[in-house]
Amino acid sequence: MSGLRQEWEAEAPPRNCTLQDYQGVPARWCPGCGDHAVLNAVQQVARDKQLPPEKTVVVSGIGCSSRFPHYIKTYGFHGLHGRAFPVACGVRSRRPDLHMFVVTGDGDCCAIGTAHWIHTIRYNMDLTILLLDNNIYGLTKNQTSPTTRTGERSNTHPRGNVLPPLNPLSVTLGVTNASFVAQTIDWNPPHLYSTIRAAYEHKGTSFVRILQRCPHFTSHVFTAVQHDMSQVLLLTHDDGIPLEPSMQRLFPNRAAHDPHQLAAARAVAERDDVYPVGLLYRDERAARYDLQTSQGLGKSQAEKMAATEKWLSRYEI
């Protein structure tokens, strides 16, 4: 990449990265937590796409899911609550050479980080956003999150949540310039893998909501879905998330959905009788802010000084 030192490319020996190359410190999530499955899937995508660990950056906020960067051996940025998005956009703005994942949770993304969420979708920089949605604040011990279902009890709403849950898919699809919106589940590794891989391959901001089991606080929510897959609707399409026919059969409800139709995507997202999984929407032509912000990376020191001198001279008397 221009602007970077040349030596690195000369030094890089040919290599084959294995799963071992992406092992960070041992994950400390609870046994049975859906985050483990997401970590495995991301590591597999990294291996299969042969992403050099040093060229891969995982940015997160705060929460259980945001511990993610520590457990994968790449560069990582474990930031502030709700603020993963601006940091990720900043990294991406000048580093088109890096492979980037953003890991966030339903409190991180849909509550404290909402403003950044909306604008990051609009910026459409090349980022793979994984929203690990377990419907609850886990790390701070069982408080209602924006996606907690009506009636669910928590430490902050012991008599039950009175509000309907915020729908992250319809919110994202409501943002101008959204370019990739998908939903998957942590308990079907092939679909999880395929979705994350498709999201990674998409050029632009891909937003993946992952229904994630929390065995500790919301085990009755998605574990129940896991055991009753009639609550899930698999979206199928040639341009959607690829899934082996044998795997498709695990989903009793399937529907064809064209991911290029925004109105249809919004309609599917709004469904409250089933959880649609698969690719809801993709638009490869959406404007990308990172193509703007990375312009000028090739300027030499001499060119920069000449530009500064030109502007400075305007003030000469």
Partner: protein, 632 residues
């Protein structure tokens, strides 16, 4: 100094040219009438002439306030001198007002004195609206009672000979008036006008030249007051700009490629400049969705390899504090520019205050040691950015630059910087990282360490705002927490050890030492010089490094009987109800210096929303010196 007008009662036929070593000019109008353009062009002309200048923008709070209103004055103050001018000074010698009501806003601001020569457009005397005519006549009588030298000039009537829309032309006529009074070379002015209006076409140039010439000729024929402020041609190339432009050019000169911001007064004009210019140097301005995202984005850029800058003002600083703490904790190089305005809360958006020192120092929770520097001149606004980027990278953390609204909008000439290749950020390091070196390999003595950059093979690590060990692994152990806190703090002591004690302005010992920081430099030194000329034993000291503080302060302070900070921020007046030595809240720098030196440092601070003029500082210092005399 002030110029008395008593000897200027000349007859119209005999105009006298009075030679003065400095003069203060103001031009004010309704917003949109171009007084600022006139003021800027006049300032530019006198600066080119070789005069020292300091200019201040007079800005209404609204974009287009009602016309002929006291609150709506828009324009410029230009103080010009034979020598370099360091502040906006006291009372205006000449004011050109395009209506009488905007002049009242300057009277309310204390900008005039008896004898000030006031030019007022007399068009309002013939206005069809009875009420406007009445108010104009009342005002003119009032101005005469106030002993201003009032000259009613037929500005609009003259302009109508050259344009159908005199609202857009009076400013060039006024420029002609000023150039005639100060005997500026008309040919140079014509060139300047032609350049200024070149994009608008020949007709616009012709019209403006005609308006200028009319103002110039009318003044020569009808006004006897003439002044000359002798100028020395500059020996070296000079530039003239305001503090925000200097900050912006400093950003470019430092090789900073990303300025991440959210619009906020009075910081934003720096970003306006960069939005045009930075792209040519390979960078860009990111206008974030909010102040928090602005600093987060900058931190992301810095983490990925190149130190970025974020620029804001008080309310924005409040929002940025969480990320600032992160940059301290995770040791991310970052330049944060705070162009201070009046606070607290939304406060006085366009006005001057030095109220964010303690917020900058302490706003983050926990212990968050960071470097804070404050430029005192426009020239320093430029150079301090270059310094700040280097410090941010060498000391691996945020460096805050505290400017203020006075520097932001004031203009001053300074030697044109000779750009250096070494000022630029080096290319992003991408060579393999020695895997045996952890990402926080703190030197046990200095706390300094080098950071791996994404792309460097072998350096993979996770940055975190949680307590962490040298490997950047989350670590809650007591010993590690104690050590990492020490390491982050140690860096400030190391920087302090590399600084020199500040220079005292005046004698190194005496009765009274005045200590200041930021944009008050010129006012304080002018006041001190005046009192020293009268034989008083008073000196001053101006701090540029506020965290860490420059070394040797206690020794310097001990050589004076009394140390007093002069600041544009709030402190309790000593004689107010309920205020006792125990309850009194001190100004911000004095609090800092008291705790650092254990010396009973006093303060005199005010929050007028404008620079404290030298005369007020002189008056206060005189009072203090008299108290000291009585004590001894």
């Amino acid at each position: 100094m002030s110029t008395t007008m008593a000897d200027l009662e000349a007859t119209p036929s005999t105009s006298t040219v009075r030679v003065v070593d400095q003069h203060i000019v103001e031009i004010v109008s309704d917003s949109g009438e171009g007084a600022q353009t006139c003021g800027q062009m006049f300032a530019d002309l006198v600066a080119r002439n070789g005069n020292g200048i300091w200019t201040v923008e007079i800005i209404p709070a609204e974009i287009e306030p009602p016309s002929r209103s006291r609150a709506g004055a828009s324009g410029n103050r230009i103080r010009l001198g034979s020598n370099p001018v360091t502040n906006a000074g006291d009372h205006a010698d000449i004011v050109v007002a395009l209506n009488e009501q905007v002049l009242y806003s300057r009277i309310d601001a204390g900008a005039l004195r008896s004898g000030t020569i006031v030019f007022v457009d007399r068009t309002w005397a013939e206005h069809p609206d009875d009420e406007i005519r009445r108010r104009y006549q009342e005002a003119i009588e009032d101005f005469r009672r106030r002993a201003y030298t009032v000259i009613e000039a037929p500005i609009e009537a003259q302009c109508r000979q050259h344009t159908d829309d005199p609202r857009k032309g009076k400013n060039m006529w006024a420029l002609g008036l000023l150039c005639a009074i100060y005997d500026l070379d008309a040919a140079t002015v014509r060139e300047s006008i032609s350049r200024r209006f070149s994009r608008k076409g020949d007709a616009a140039i012709e019209k403006n030249l005609a308006l200028f010439a009319d103002g110039y000729d009318w003044t020569l024929a009808n006004v006897q007051q003439r002044f000359r402020v002798p100028a020395h041609k500059h020996a070296q190339p000079m530039v003239v700009m305001n503090g925000n432009q200097a900050l912006a050019l400093g950003i470019m000169a430092a090789g900073i490629e990303v300025c991440s911001m959210y619009p906020i007064t009075p910081a934003t004009s720096a970003s306006h400049f960069l939005a045009n210019a930075l792209q040519e140097a390979g960078g860009f301005v990111h206008q974030a969705e909010d102040e928090i995202a602005a600093i987060g984005f900058a931190i992301g850029c810095s983490y990925a390899g190149k130190t970025a800058v974020t620029i804001t003002s008080g309310p924005g600083l409040a929002l940025k504090t969480e990320f600032l703490g992160y940059a301290v904790m995770a040791e991310v190089p970052l330049v944060v520019i705070v162009v201070q305005r009046g606070g607290p809360s939304t406060g006085l958006p366009t006005k001057i205050e030095q109220g964010d020192l303690l917020a900058a120092l302490y706003a983050s929770p926990g212990d968050s040691p960071k470097i804070i520097i404050a430029p005192a001149t426009i020239e320093e606004c430029f150079h301090f950015v270059v310094t700040a980027r280097r410090l941010a990278e060498d000391f691996r953390g945020p460096v805050m630059i505290l400017s203020d609204a006075n520097l932001a909008t004031g203009q001053q000439p300074f030697p044109k910087p000779q750009l250096q290749n070494s000022w630029l950020a080096p290319p992003v390091e991408q060579a393999a990282w020695d895997q045996s070196v952890p990402p926080f390999a703190w030197d046990p003595e200095t706390g300094l360490s080098r950071r791996p950059i994404p792309g460097q093979r072998g350096g993979e690590y996770v940055l975190t705002g949680l307590a962490h060990d040298e490997a950047s692994h989350v670590a809650y152990e007591s010993a590690i927490n104690q050590k990492s806190m020490e390491m982050r703090s140690r860096k400030l002591a190391v920087l302090k050890s590399a600084l020199h004690p500040p220079q005292v302005h005046g004698s190194a010992e005496g009765d009274l030492l005045v200590v200041g920081w930021g944009s008050t430099l010129g006012c304080i030194e002018e006041a001190v010089d005046q009192l020293r000329a009268e034989g008083h034993r008073v000196s001053s000291l101006h701090l540029r490094f506020l965290s860490p503080l420059e070394p040797g302060l206690k020794k310097i302070f001990e050589r004076f009987r009394k140390v007093l900070t002069v600041e544009v921020n709030y402190s309790d007046p000593v004689d107010a109800a309920f205020i006792t030595p125990e309850s009194r809240r001190y100004s911000q720098l004095s609090q800092l210096l008291r705790s650092q030196t254990l010396i009973d440092i006093d303060c005199w601070s005010q929050v007028p929303g404008s620079p404290i003029p030298p005369s007020r500082i002189v008056a206060e210092l005189r009072r203090r010196l008299e108290l000291l005399r009585q004590e001894s």
